[in-house]
């Protein structure tokens, strides 16, 4: 009986098999690591690691392949949805995902993402929106808020000359090919928990062949915002969430049966 305690021990929190034991290159307070971890957990939980193929993009997330422990490719800037289309159409039984930032997806890659959604491409897109170009050092992104100062809008985004931010999820949700399009946030434990459920739903959408799925995640960039990691979380809540409301913009009716 003295072994009882040992026998009852089980690990309740560990690194997902889909997540490599590699130090990430992300800045302190960046939410990329959280998003990675959530995706890896879901892939593990669904037992689909060996059939998942990822497409990395250009931007800070260019190195995602270093962190995920399943097959990965890496697309030209903005083209991940096209590359994912090529993979999915060639290997329809595999699970194909893209991981893209807002500059990649909503600016240079707007054509590819909109076309993939319109075609109802059975891919899952994980879209990190931090309202700025991170990798190149903090320039104005299509998602930069009105008045937000960046290195290429030093006086703040002037909507008269630089136009308005793009609400990509709302826009893509208007397309009939979209099966699941939602926005979540990574700024608090509660929202992180909700994000994970949404990631699961995106995979479920693809598994069921219900069309294009995308989870937009409001994310931080403390380095280029000039905020501390803690203040960056508040910045998401105070500044981004009013412009980019959390919500479900498209949920295929057949997903009602999915209980997570």
């Amino acid at each position: 009986m003295e072994n009882t305690i040992t026998q009852k021990e089980s690990i309740v929190y560990q690194r997902p098999a889909s997540f490599r034991p590699a130090p990430t290159h992300y800045c302190p307070g960046c939410t990329h690591g959280i998003a990675h971890r959530l995706i890896a957990e879901v892939v593990d939980e669904m037992g689909i690691r060996e059939k998942t193929i990822g497409v990395a993009s250009v931007g800070c997330s260019v190195f995602t392949y270093r962190y995920f422990n399943f097959d990965f490719t890496q697309a030209p800037h903005g083209r991940a949805p096209a590359m994912a289309t090529g993979i999915k159409r060639t290997l329809p039984d595999k699970i194909v995902i893209t991981y893209q930032g807002d500059g990649d997806l909503a600016s240079i890659g707007m054509g590819e993402i909109a076309a993939a959604a319109a075609r109802g491409e059975n891919i899952s897109v994980f879209f990190l929106n931090n309202a700025i170009y991170g990798m190149t050092g903090g320039q104005m992104a299509p998602t930069t808020l009105p008045g937000q100062k960046t290195s290429s809008s030093p006086s703040g985004r002037d909507v008269e000359t630089a136009g308005y931010p793009v609400r990509t999820s709302e826009m893509l949700a208007t397309l009939d090919g979209a099966g699941y399009v939602v926005r979540r946030s990574l700024h608090s434990p509660k929202e992180i928990h909700r994000t994970k459920k949404a990631i699961r739903m995106a995979f479920e959408t693809q598994l069921r062949g219900l069309g294009f799925s995308m989870v937009e995640m409001l994310s931080s960039c403390p380095t280029n915002w000039g905020e501390t990691p803690n203040d960056a979380m508040s910045w998401i809540e105070d500044n981004m969430m009013p412009y980019y409301p959390i919500g479900d913009f498209k949920v295929h009716p057949a997903l009602a049966e999915v209980k997570i």
Partner: protein, 373 residues
């Protein structure tokens, strides 16, 4: 199999199907569109992948994704569409994954026109996308050759982990000729050790063109060059006609080569000892044969449907050892057999000074003729 009357664009599409292409992605553009239309039903009927992409950018990146799975992937387009594909082609070359592109060239630059041209020679042969890379470029001159080269292209692409471009012009895409299609190959069942097709029972793989550490990129580029040197040693193709006793050679590829052959026959009938060298592989270029010929012939005439793009390569590899003339018809114009025959006669009667610029002399003549100078 019996010969059938086949249109060029349909012929290469079906040749690719029979070669076992797993995935085709394309975008409509004249004079190539029949291939897309044909494959839009042919591929799904065989349970293979087909997507009419949102653009050539989309198409080439779909090819990129499919190629990364180790399956046979291709696209086809025409000059302006291929310009859009250059980004993807560079990434594909940098990732060292095989693919096949058919470029049905038309008149340019810009929107140009939809008439046959050869003005993508430099664009395709000497790159176009960024970085050091070397596509294999094959230039058939008739429908049968288009079929045969497309059929073989996938194996070449896989052998050298390279891009293979079938470079034809609008007339070859649009014309019909009797030709024989090859037998249907079964699709590949074994895939390369680099393919990112799901890590079932093996460690995860990664494919990209990124090499942030310059010394690693340097090694990649040298590896690509090493592979290219193997291509140069093994894959040079050309055809010669009437060259046994020739004192002069016409050099032309594709349709220009075909028109030149008629001119050579006519000139032969007039007693001129002229033959034709028709490069089939534009890249690797048949440099050896042209170099050797330059040491024994009395003159060469280069004929192209452009302003003299291959001409520069001919001059490099013949080292300007012999008199060289040039006849070009750019902008979607096909040279007439009589023009080529007259150019042969001028070369024989009045060989230009060795080392003089063939393009300058041609330009002075055509300018006067067209009244633009």
């Amino acid at each position: 199999m019996a010969k059938e009357l086949l249109k060029g664009n349909i012929a290469f599409a079906e040749a690719a199907v029979r070669a076992g292409v797993d995935a085709y992605f394309g975008y409509p553009i004249t004079p190539q569109t029949e291939a897309l239309e044909y494959l839009s039903w042919r591929m799904p009927n065989l349970d293979r992948a087909f997507v009419q992409a949102e653009s050539e950018l989309g198409a080439i990146n779909m090819v990129y994704g499919a190629a990364c799975t180790g399956r046979r992937a291709m696209t086809s387009s025409s000059s302006p569409g291929v310009s859009l594909m250059m980004e993807g082609l560079s990434y594909i070359a940098g990732t060292e994954v095989p693919m096949v592109l058919v470029d049905v060239m038309r008149g340019g630059p810009g929107l140009g026109n939809i008439a046959p041209a050869q003005s993508d020679y430099n664009h395709i042969v000497h790159g176009g996308g960024h970085g050091d890379y070397y596509p294999i470029v094959l230039a058939p001159a008739n429908i049968q050759e288009t079929i045969d080269l497309t059929y073989e292209a996938f194996e070449l692409a896989e052998k050298y982990r390279s891009i293979v471009v079938i470079l034809i012009d609008g007339s070859i895409g649009q014309m019909m000729e009797p030709a024989e299609l090859p037998p249907m190959k079964s699709r590949k069942k074994q895939f390369p050790e680099w393919a990112t097709d799901g890590c079932e029972g093996r460690p995860a793989r990664f494919l990209s063109s990124i090499a942030l550490d310059p010394p690693i990129q340097e090694i990649t580029n040298l590896r690509i060059l090493k592979r290219w040197n193997e291509v140069r040693a093994n894959e040079v193709r050309y055809k010669t006609y009437f060259m046994e006793d020739a004192r002069y050679a016409v050099v032309g590829f594709g349709t220009a080569g075909r028109v030149s052959l008629s001119a050579v026959r006519a000139a032969r009938a007039e007693g001129i000892p002229v033959g034709l060298v028709r490069p089939v592989s534009l890249h690797p270029f048949p440099e050896q044969v042209l170099g050797d010929l330059s040491k024994k012939l009395d003159g060469m005439l280069v004929v192209e449907m452009n302003n003299g793009q291959m001409l520069d390569d001919v001059r490099v590899h013949t080292k300007d050892r012999l008199p060289i003339s040039f006849l070009g018809r750019p902008g979607g114009v096909i040279p007439m057999e009589e023009e080529v025959r007259e150019a042969i006669k001028r070369l024989v009667a009045n060989p230009p000074p060795i080392g003089s610029d063939p393009r300058d002399r041609w330009f002075a003549e055509i300018c006067r003729e067209k009244g633009v100078c």
